[in-house]
């Protein structure tokens, strides 16, 4: 037992306090009272003294291994544990090197140069090309989800030297840095992953990011400690991040107002107006236009009977006309969203002011006319959705809208795992969900959903659209790309395999004294290394 421990134990056993304790506590109390008297919220002083930040997650991460789990909550945490090969600068919408710099030697050869001197957490040594190579190989060997979404053009990778990796592609792929190195660019420590395996690694992740996992109590909280060897100069600024799992938005809000947490995402939209209008002193409001969309999509034969009403294009168009998009924004998101009828948000190449075809307030007469033309005189439509409460509410509102054209919508809420399986395996009639776009390249908001080989294309086969998508991916001239993507969007608007509702702003509430927090447009990416107490 050390001397310090011994002294503390003796003092505690005696039940007494030292003169130093009295002086320290008096000084701290005096400072806190002084601050309170000066109108500063007491809890900010306490947090600033601790130099730690508490962030409320609105769900429990299933794991912290980016090669196994793809949901929001785990990614919010791993943003701060793992670095990526490249990272999107949300402000400029450009891709910036993080762990590697890249060079395109020929259309099929990319050379990655690893940043030297980056250290793995907890003494696992230095990051080298071996780790990068290991991750490229792991995606192929374990067929992780990256294989289908970001690594599909990769033929193989090999080590040129300790810090240089060569990646050979099967086909030219211009979004390689944006999609493969950023979205699919998680890097895990080879030695740690080999030692632990997938599941253990997901509970004890070893990254190179600004924070390392200290402890995790399931269903309650996770603690990240500052990585003292982090490569970003002077960062992170806070010593500790405490993630508390608080699913209920009203509990998140009361936790913020009582000072138990410092930053919260997703306040209940009914509460947002009073914060937006600055009604709560000491609380700041951030609203970021999201790279996302809310949508409804359908399955097509062979995943659904050929005579099912939604296979008829007029029924799908009728549904799109029956949707009052503005009401969804007003009632579900308290105005924190923008209307759209297509998947290309503002800022993306090929964006056009929305709505393009389907009116923001809907057109019920046109919808009824199309239903009559289709001969669809009322039917049951089962719509799946995941367990996000705002989507359940949106489903109820959409159900009421569709009942006006004789569609009896049956809502089937599912936990996120069951939902994802049903969605990817195309085991549903219709689906109402939201999704975050993984990169600022327009390819990522269209290809997976509308190309005949896209993993979430549900049987809608349009050869022209698939060809345009392939062409757009290989084309470098922005004007030519724009034309191609306009063609694609027009075809989607005409045939309605997906029906788009809105792009939702991401809203955060935080204490005024928290500086350097910028919630990005992607809900799963929440960096905290620039955050500090002001």
């Amino acid at each position: 037992m050390s001397r310090m421990q011994s002294t503390r134990s003796t003092r505690a056993a005696n039940g007494g306090i030292s003169r130093r304790d009295v002086l320290r506590n008096t000084a701290a109390g005096g400072a806190a009272l002084g601050a309170y008297g000066a109108g500063l919220p007491l809890f900010n002083i306490v947090r600033a003294q601790d130099n730690k930040i508490t962030y409320a997650l609105f769900g429990e991460p299933p794991g912290l291994n980016g090669f196994v789990y793809t949901e929001i909550h785990g990614n919010v945490v791993t943003t701060n544990i793992f670095d990526k090969m490249a990272r999107i600068d949300h402000a400029t919408r450009r891709i910036e090197p993080e762990m590697v710099e890249w060079k395109n030697e020929d259309p099929l050869t990319w050379v990655l140069k690893v940043r030297e001197g980056i250290q793995w957490h907890k003494g696992y040594g230095e990051l080298t090309g071996e780790d990068i190579l290991y991750c490229f190989n792991h995606v192929q060997e374990a067929s992780t989800f990256q294989k289908g979404v970001s690594h599909f053009p990769v033929d193989h990778a090999k080590l040129r030297s300790k810090y240089v990796v060569e990646v050979k592609l099967k086909m030219p792929f211009s979004p390689f840095p944006m999609v493969t190195l950023e979205y699919g660019g998680s890097v895990m420590c080879k030695a740690a992953h080999q030692e632990m395996g997938d599941q253990e690694f997901a509970r004890n992740p070893i990254g190179t990011g600004p924070f390392e996992l200290d402890s995790w109590v399931s269903g309650s909280h996770l603690v990240l400690k500052k990585n003292p060897n982090h490569w970003r100069d002077g960062r992170p600024y806070v010593d500790e991040v405490l993630y508390r799992v608080i699913e209920d938005p009203s509990v998140r809000l009361s936790s913020l107002l009582t000072g138990e947490i410092d930053i919260m995402p997703r306040p209940d939209p009914k509460d947002t107006p009073r914060f937006r209008e600055g009604g709560e002193p000491g609380i700041a409001y951030q609203s970021v236009p999201g790279w996302n969309w809310d949508y409804m999509d359908f399955t097509f034969p062979p995943y659904i009977a050929a005579d099912f009403p939604t296979v008829n294009v007029d029924v799908r168009r009728a549904i799109s006309y029956a949707i009052d998009r503005q009401t969804i924004i007003d009632e579900i998101y308290a105005g924190e969203a923008i209307v759209t009828d297509n998947p290309v948000p503002p800022g993306y190449l090929g964006h056009r002011p929305s709505p393009i075809v389907y009116p923001a307030r809907g057109d019920l007469a046109k919808a009824k006319e199309l239903m009559a033309k289709a001969g669809a005189t009322g039917f049951d439509l089962e719509v799946i959705t995941s367990d996000k409460e705002w989507l359940r509410r949106e489903c109820e509102l959409v159900a009421a809208m569709l009942s006006e054209i004789g569609i009896n919508m049956k809502i089937r809420g599912m936990d996120v795992g069951t939902y994802s399986t049903a969605w990817v395996k195309k085991q549903f009639q219709a689906d109402l969900e939201d999704i975050t776009i993984v990169s600022p390249d327009v390819d990522s908001t269209l290809w997976w959903f509308h190309h005949k080989d896209g993993i979430v294309e549900h049987g809608w086969e349009n050869q022209a659209v698939s060809d345009w998508l392939d062409e757009g991916r290989a084309e470098l001239d922005p004007e030519k790309r724009t034309t191609l993507y306009h063609n694609i969007v027009d075809a989607v608007l005409d045939d309605c395999p997906y029906i788009y509702f809105n792009h939702v702003n991401l809203v955060y509430l935080l204490k005024d004294a928290v500086k350097g927090f910028h919630g990005g447009p992607q809900e799963h990416v929440v960096p905290l290394w620039d955050v500090q107490w002001g």
Binding site: K270, E331, E396, L397, A400, S403, I411, R412, G413, D415
Partner: protein, 288 residues
């Protein structure tokens, strides 16, 4: 007329009915539950508004002549939703007691009457079920089956089967030692005849009491599962789901949380009063 001559002159059923009617709370419970059942059955005729019909211009309106129970955040009529919610709750209650009593009672009687290894096997299985807290087990079953009204009935019904089986077995074990049962055995009556003629009629009283109690528990279980998002799916009206949604407006719209709570309390309390009345009425020791 003396007490003795009165009891000798009337059927046990009539006597039980008289005792039930003397139980004031049970009578009140019976009347209110009857009103609730009739309201649920005739809901489409009592209100011409669709329970899922939104009316955003009237959202969050307090109770008034137009909207007796007010409206919710989508402007839906809360009175209509309460009536239609009663349909779901009562349907679930009925379905649950049919499954639980319909399976649990015969299983318990057969197990108790034959005893031996069969009894051991069946009762250990029932014990295994009973080790789980009922709601937790229902949540687990719902997680597997998916959120549908039929699945709520099945899940909660399965949870209560062991409760009926245990009660039926205990009473059968006691009854099979009675001399009239021994006499039936001595006269060569078949097991089927003894179970259906000698045992079942004599345990029906306690089973009826348990049915009343289970019905009220099923109503709570449905409300709880729906509150958790595992029960009846929107836009179908459900007291539990509406109560969950009402939490958001606790400070702004008192009527949203009040009416589902009152409806659940009314249904549960009055079914329990009926259960109490039945217990007193059917208990042979309470004759005097």
């Amino acid at each position: 007329m003396t007490e003795s001559s009165r009891t000798h002159g009337e059927s046990p059923l009539r006597l039980a009915a008289q005792r039930f009617l003397r139980h004031r709370l049970a009578v009140i419970g019976g009347v209110l539950v009857t009103i609730l059942i009739l309201s649920a059955v005739f809901a489409p005729w009592l209100t011409d508004v669709e329970p899922a019909k939104t009316n955003l211009r009237s959202k969050l309106s307090p109770p008034s002549w137009e909207f007796p129970f007010g409206t919710d955040h989508f402007g839906r009529d809360v009175f209509t939703r309460m009536l239609h919610g009663a349909r779901v709750s009562l349907l679930v209650g009925l379905g649950v007691v049919l499954i639980a009593a319909g399976i649990g009672t015969p299983v318990g009687v057969v197990s108790g009457y034959f005893g031996g290894r069969l009894d051991n096997l069946v009762m250990r299985l029932m014990d295994a079920f009973l080790t789980f807290p009922p709601l937790l087990l229902a949540v687990a079953i719902m997680g597997t089956l998916g959120p549908e009204t039929e699945n709520v009935i099945l899940a909660v019904g399965l949870v209560y089967i062991p409760v009926f089986a245990r009660l039926a077995r205990g009473n059968t074990l006691s009854l099979r030692e009675y001399t009239y049962v021994s006499a039936s055995v001595a006269l060569g009556a078949s097991s089927w005849r003894i179970i259906t003629r000698d045992i079942l009629p004599n345990i029906i009283g306690v089973i009826l009491v348990l049915i009343a109690v289970t019905f009220s528990r099923a109503v709570i279980a449905e409300a709880s599962l729906s509150f958790l998002g595992l029960g009846v799916q929107p836009p179908t009206a459900s007291w539990g789901r509406d109560l969950n949604e009402a939490r958001r407006y606790l400070e702004d719209a008192w009527w949203l949380v009040t009416f589902p709570t009152v409806m659940i309390a009314l249904a549960v309390l009055n079914m329990n009063f009926i259960g109490d009345g039945l217990r007193d009425a059917l208990d042979p020791r309470a004759q005097d």
